[in-house]
């Protein structure tokens, strides 16, 4: 492994960190300069993410040891196919959100670009880290940046939504720390690969505590992923935020889904003994409930932004349904769905703002308004995106849903429920979107004031994302192939463990058994056992 490859894993975190820091220093400078710099940062990030994806596409798992501390003792960053895919998805989304933001919405408040870059850093860090406490830290980074972005532009609606969003996330963070603390107290490690081995060799007296901590962790991730009944914060917050910010927020619920997938496939996966598949029954049922609740919310929405926010909930429900099914086919279907739905929903959020601007005082309210001057263009884009999100052929949502339905055939007990709920909620989503579209683009109020022309430059990113949805159909086979390969790595975490802990780590079960003897090793007062998984000369004396 060359030096570039060795250090490249941390690049998706460093690029936005350095760009953001530079932008803080340049806070008094001219807007064009900051926009150019921020855009360059995002483009560089896209390049780096693409490079990382190509590095891991052949199945290699890149591990970056921060400070060169050996694995269970230091923090590691791990880039496998899933992590690299999510990082690339973030960068693509960031590029188009930034294209939209620099058309003017970034000037409605201060420090938009700084917050945007730090949000990217938090997202990429959360996807790449291999350490549970580090995951918490990156969660906090992305959350504090998102608080700022949500409030960007100000106004009473944003303050009200912001307060709810911030408080519920702070409570979530506290619960996260309780869960992490319990896991450390019992297992004596925070490295995910090491946790996985310790959980597999857990003594019966500690199972209750670890199960409680694991379910608490699931609660936190479900809150972030907007899984019913913990999704109630989302529609209010997302429908109040500005267009570019909320386009990027579309991936924030996926961080929760990603964390669920990572933690419960790696730490509480098939090899976890009595704790294997701990949350599987919950995930499927809650995913289906989320689908139904999100769809009902979409049907009841009186504003387009609120409708699209409920579509984020629907997309979270579909993804968690697929993840809850388990197995390679379902996981790959869920990943394909994640990739395409994130981009489509983000495009819909940006289009919502364009439509609202054009309609003047009517905003995005779903009632008869002025005749739109460019109704063909706006309506055409809305049609394409609505078809994609509702899952009709020939767009990407259709393939995503077909893959999920196909995967459900492998689980005969759940299949009728999944088939029925996915298909019926798809139809209801289509009805909600058709009603919204016909109200916005066909129904006109004759004495309404004339609407203004849309800003075509702002429609470019929307059209580009709609084009990407088409590319997801054209290149469905390679993309699904990649998702399948990523799912294979998740189903069999042996490669991950070996990459992080070193060769032979997976077959030292005998060793692991002796270390999990309760930590009455006398000389260490704490629970942390000094297990040596790597050659001793790599470990500093303090450990």
């Amino acid at each position: 492994m060359s030096a570039v490859t060795a250090h490249g894993v941390i690049a998706p975190i460093l690029v936005p960190l350095l760009t953001g820091t530079l932008l803080v220093l340049l806070r008094g400078s001219a807007t064009p300069l900051r926009r150019t710099l921020s855009m360059l940062g995002v483009q560089l990030l896209l390049g780096v993410s693409l490079w990382l994806l190509l590095q891991v596409a052949d199945g290699e798992i890149l591990v970056y040891r921060l400070g060169n501390w050996a694995a269970p003792h230091g923090i590691v960053l791990v880039a496998d196919r899933l992590a690299a895919g999510m990082v690339l998805l973030t960068s693509v989304l960031a590029l188009f959100a930034m294209m939209h933001a620099i058309q003017g919405s970034d000037r409605r408040g201060r420090q938009f670009h700084v917050l945007f870059q730090f949000l990217l850093m938090g997202l990429n860090g959360a996807f790449l880290t291999g350490d549970l406490f580090n995951l918490f830290v990156f969660f906090e980074i992305l959350l504090i940046a998102s608080y700022g972005l949500l409030l960007h532009g100000g106004g009473a609606a944003r303050s009200r939504a912001g307060l709810h969003y911030v408080v519920i996330n702070l409570v979530g963070s506290s619960l996260f720390l309780f869960a992490v603390g319990t896991l450390y107290g019992v297992l004596g490690t925070l490295n995910m690969a090491d946790l996985s081995q310790r959980v597999a060799a857990l003594g019966p007296e500690d199972i209750g505590l670890v199960r409680a901590a694991a379910l608490l962790l699931f609660l936190v991730f479900a809150l972030k992923a907007a899984l019913a009944p913990l999704h109630l914060w989302l529609p209010g917050a997302y429908s109040a935020a500005g267009p570019a910010a909320v386009a990027l927020f579309a991936i924030m619920t996926k961080v929760g889904a990603y964390s669920i997938l990572r933690v419960y496939s790696l730490i509480f996966g098939a090899d976890a003994g009595p704790l294997a598949g701990l949350v599987d029954p919950w995930m499927l049922v809650l995913g289906l409930i989320t689908l139904v609740v999100g769809t009902l919310g979409a049907l009841a929405s009186q504003r387009l932004a609120l409708l699209v926010s409920h579509l984020v909930v629907v997309s979270a429900g579909s993804i968690l349904t697929a993840f809850g099914l388990g197995g390679e086919a379902a996981l790959s279907a869920g990943l394909y769905y994640t990739f395409q739905s994130t981009l489509v929903v983000a495009a819909l959020f940006m289009l919502t703002e364009n439509v609202a601007r054009t309609r003047g005082a009517f905003g995005d309210e779903l009632r008869a308004g002025p005749m739109l001057p460019a109704a063909n263009l706006l309506g055409g884009l809305f049609l394409v995106l609505a078809l994609a999100v509702a899952g009709l052929p020939p767009l990407s949502g259709f393939i995503g849903k077909v893959l999920i339905l196909k995967a459900s055939v492998g689980a005969p007990a759940a299949m009728p429920w999944i088939m029925a709920i996915v298909l019926i909620t798809g139809l209801l989503t289509l009805i909600a979107l058709a009603r919204a579209g016909s109200t916005l683009f066909f129904k006109t109020e004759t004495h309404a004031r004339t609407a203004s022309l849309p800003n075509v430059a702002k429609l470019v990113p929307v059209a580009a994302l709609a084009g990407i949805s088409l590319l997801f159909v054209v290149f469905a086979s390679p993309i699904h192939g990649y998702a399948q390969a990523a799912a294979a790595q998740l189903v069999d975490p042996g490669g991950y463990l070996e990459a992080v802990l070193g060769a032979g780590a997976t077959d030292n079960d005998a060793d692991a058994d002796t270390d999990t003897e309760p930590a009455k090793m006398a000389e260490v007062a704490g629970p942390r056992r000094t297990t040596v998984h790597s050659p001793p000369d790599q470990i500093m004396p303090a450990h």
């Binding site: 009473a156 009200r160 307060l163 408080v167 506290s174 309780f178 450390y184 629970p527 303090a542």
Partner: protein, 108 residues
């Protein structure tokens, strides 16, 4: 000692949750603060309670305190402090924007 610490953490968390469920922003902020104190204490004692032992290797010592929870709790305190400051400012701003300090932004 363990029972006392556990009681203290439980009391802090209980008071925090009670205050979190109040309808005004100030008690909610206090609730978040108490809950984060409970979390910090909890993280700290996850390294087990020990008296008079160093966290760094010293010659001639055989017993050590676990240094990792101390590092974790330091991180958690810093993050918690920043978040509390932010939520205080946000609550003040919501009070100014919305004209009242109810968490829903309107009087019931």
């Amino acid at each position: 000692m363990e029972a006392l610490i556990a009681l203290v953490i439980g009391l802090l968390a209980g008071c925090g949750i009670y205050l979190l469920l109040r309808a005004r922003t100030f008690p909610v902020v206090l609730g978040i603060t108490l809950l984060s104190y409970a979390v910090n204490l909890f993280l700290f004692v996850m390294g087990r309670l020990s008296i008079g032992v160093p966290a760094i290797i010293e010659p001639g010592r055989s017993a050590y305190a676990d240094p990792l929870p101390q590092a974790l709790v330091l991180t958690a305190i810093v993050i918690g402090f920043g978040m509390t400051a932010f939520v205080v400012v946000l609550a003040l701003r919501a009070r100014a924007d919305l004209g009242n300090d109810h968490v829903d932004g309107r009087e019931p």
